[in-house]
Symmetry: C2
Subunit: 344 residues, 2 copies
DNA sequence: ATTGCATCATAAATCGGTTTAGTATGAGTA
DNA sequence: TACTCATACTAAACCGATTTATGATGCAAT
């Protein structure tokens, strides 16, 4: 119940002004020529009573919060969870705290979250943006807020971002399937006008065009309810029995896809070969192990936070950087040539 | 670049006092007998200029923030990520925002995070506590802060908490393995004095005692570096070749265990049967599918946030509630009787 | 004795709200 | 007329910090 000590309490106890205490605690003692002796007395008392400045009051006055807002699509998705975790750690080391939120790819919700971040005075925004949020981001930029995007970017907006080479990654994975002898290669992905998704589709289409094969694209609406993903997926696979290989556009849809494939009793890779974007435990442990396009999670997180820290550093020269990292195609049994493909 | 509108701007524009504006915006117009006409004029202007109160200033004065601090062990773990997500949504619907953080089971870090939450004036704390944090939590409670724990609790502290029946769940799973004919049943888990872990071990030991079998417990230190988990695990399995069934204490160690089992070329369940605590995609999609103890994630999250909201409701009578939910043992192929076991 | 200049410290304004304790006005009443 | 009372609104204090502008003191130089 003991009330918290404030800067006034410290000042009163020592019979000095709170101004002096503030200067000392903010390392401006030298500059303000405060005597060594007084500095020591203040520091001693502060330690003794465990005084901590009220950061709300501080933020209110300074307009800084040492908090970075991080908005991901869905924190329960392993890809975003891992990145968030890494960013949190790096931020922490640099004296910043992170507030995360999930956008659910919902524009309205994202808008509200930005507004909440804003009035919490966060110092910077790290966003994997949903569609339709352009105006709000422009407003942020317009009022001088540091913004870094990752995983995707907004076409018409000039911000720092960190992405992977989605088109090439998907081109490469598709080509791999072609080389393994597959001919009816489908891409199943979330329907989305987001840059990363469109690039992945482009890579896929280009690879098939180069191989003179016909694309077969299935787009499914993003939804948190898994049944609403597996049902259309199941219908699609039942209908298109000619498919001999599938590319999945994200880890989430890949996981759902594997469930459906199992329900249908299809054998991988004999009945259908599989490659998924994103690589994590589910794919590694699957039998057979699933080939996957691994994003460089550490590097991604590292670049994101570095860009942000640079933008937050008042001394640094302001520039915008767009970073594209390359992925790794981890080839596993799920997409390797099998006897039937060879026989054909 | 346009400066944000403040309550004073609103007041000046209408030539009234900011007090009046504040009353109107906080729904105290009637109580303060402010005329209908003025109320309308204020509301109109507020909407027009898009005025939003600065919540830092508000929090500074009122001591409330409408933010709940949520501390989980590791946000990149699927169990915690899913719960966090559900809690976030429910909180959001009730006008609260969530700040999450990962404790890494690190007491010192947790201490700092609590302190950060505290000086951000969060209204409540939801914690899956690491060991050694008792004093800090006591202090929170002592100063009247609402605290709800989940997944585990602290022995000597009387707080609301939501957990599952860990001992019974593990007893039940162990018994299942015994009934399937397994005789050398190991439990591999994280070494920890946390309540949930100790209860799981207890359940396991009791079940084996009742079956007159000898327990074989392997405890591994928690670490974010996966190699430091798989290595001792590998060594343990290589040494104890007599094991015919393994229980894993958490999803994370279960995942690592499956990787090691695969590396060693062991067949599930022929060479070794497997049951893991926690149930998620990796286990469902594994071949063969892995039996798992499913925690009721939705119910858990629901109870946690409900307890918290109740504590935050000034009108509610203060009580502490300890809720224990039951789990579901999802039996899959990985732990079913196989020919060899039958033969014995 | 006065001025100039460090040196050490502080009073008061400020950030943007909420809340307490009033005030001004007019109607009703003894 | 003077007193109460309800109505409609407000000045000023406050939350806890930072920052700006301003003393007070002592010593050396004029």
């Amino acid at each position: 119940m003991s009330k918290k000590v404030s800067i006034v309490d410290i000042a009163n106890t020592l019979n000095i002004s709170k101004t002096t205490v503030s200067f000392i605690l903010n390392g401006r003692a030298q500059e303000k020529r405060i005597s060594e002796e007084l500095v020591e007395r203040v520091q001693k008392l502060v330690k003794e009573v465990g005084y901590k400045p009220n950061s709300l009051a501080k933020s209110l006055r300074t307009g800084k919060s040492n908090i970075i807002g991080l908005m991901v699509e869905d924190i329960s998705n392993p890809f975003f969870a891992s990145i968030a975790r890494l960013i949190e750690n790096r931020a922490y080391e640099n004296g910043y705290r992170i507030i995360y939120c999930s956008t659910d790819n919902d524009t309205e919700r994202t808008r509200e979250l930005i507004s909440m971040f804003r009035d919490r005075h966060v110092d910077g925004y790290i966003i994997s943006p949903p569609e339709g949020i352009e105006e709000d981001v422009k407003e942020l930029l317009g009022s001088g807020q540091p913004v870094v995007m990752f995983d995707r970017y907004l076409q018409d907006i000039d911000t720092d971002h960190v992405i992977v080479d989605n088109a090439f990654s998907m081109y490469n994975a598709t080509q791999h399937l072609v080389q393994q002898g597959y001919r009816n290669i489908a891409l199943i992905t979330f329907s989305s006008a987001q840059s990363q998704m469109m690039d992945r589709v482009t890579g896929y289409k280009n690879a098939l065009k180069d191989a003179k094969l016909k694309p077969l694209l299935k787009e499914i609406d993003f939804n948190r309810n898994e049944a609403l993903i597996t049902e259309p997926l199941m219908a699609f696979l039942k209908k298109n029995t000619g498919i001999d290989a599938i590319l999945f556009g994200t880890d989430h849809i890949g996981t759902c896809g594997l469930k459906v494939i199992r329900q249908l009793g299809l054998k991988v890779p004999e009945d259908v070969a599989v490659v998924s974007f994103d690589d994590y435990d589910v794919f590694k442990l699957h039998s057979p192990p699933v080939s996957a396009i691994a994003q460089p999670i550490e590097a991604l997180a590292d670049h994101v936070i570095s860009l942000m820290l640079k933008k937050l550093d008042a001394n640094a020269t302001p520039t915008t950087q767009k970073i594209t990292l390359s992925t790794n195609l981890n080839i596993r049994e799920s997409s390797l040539q099998h006897s039937k493909a060879v026989a054909e």
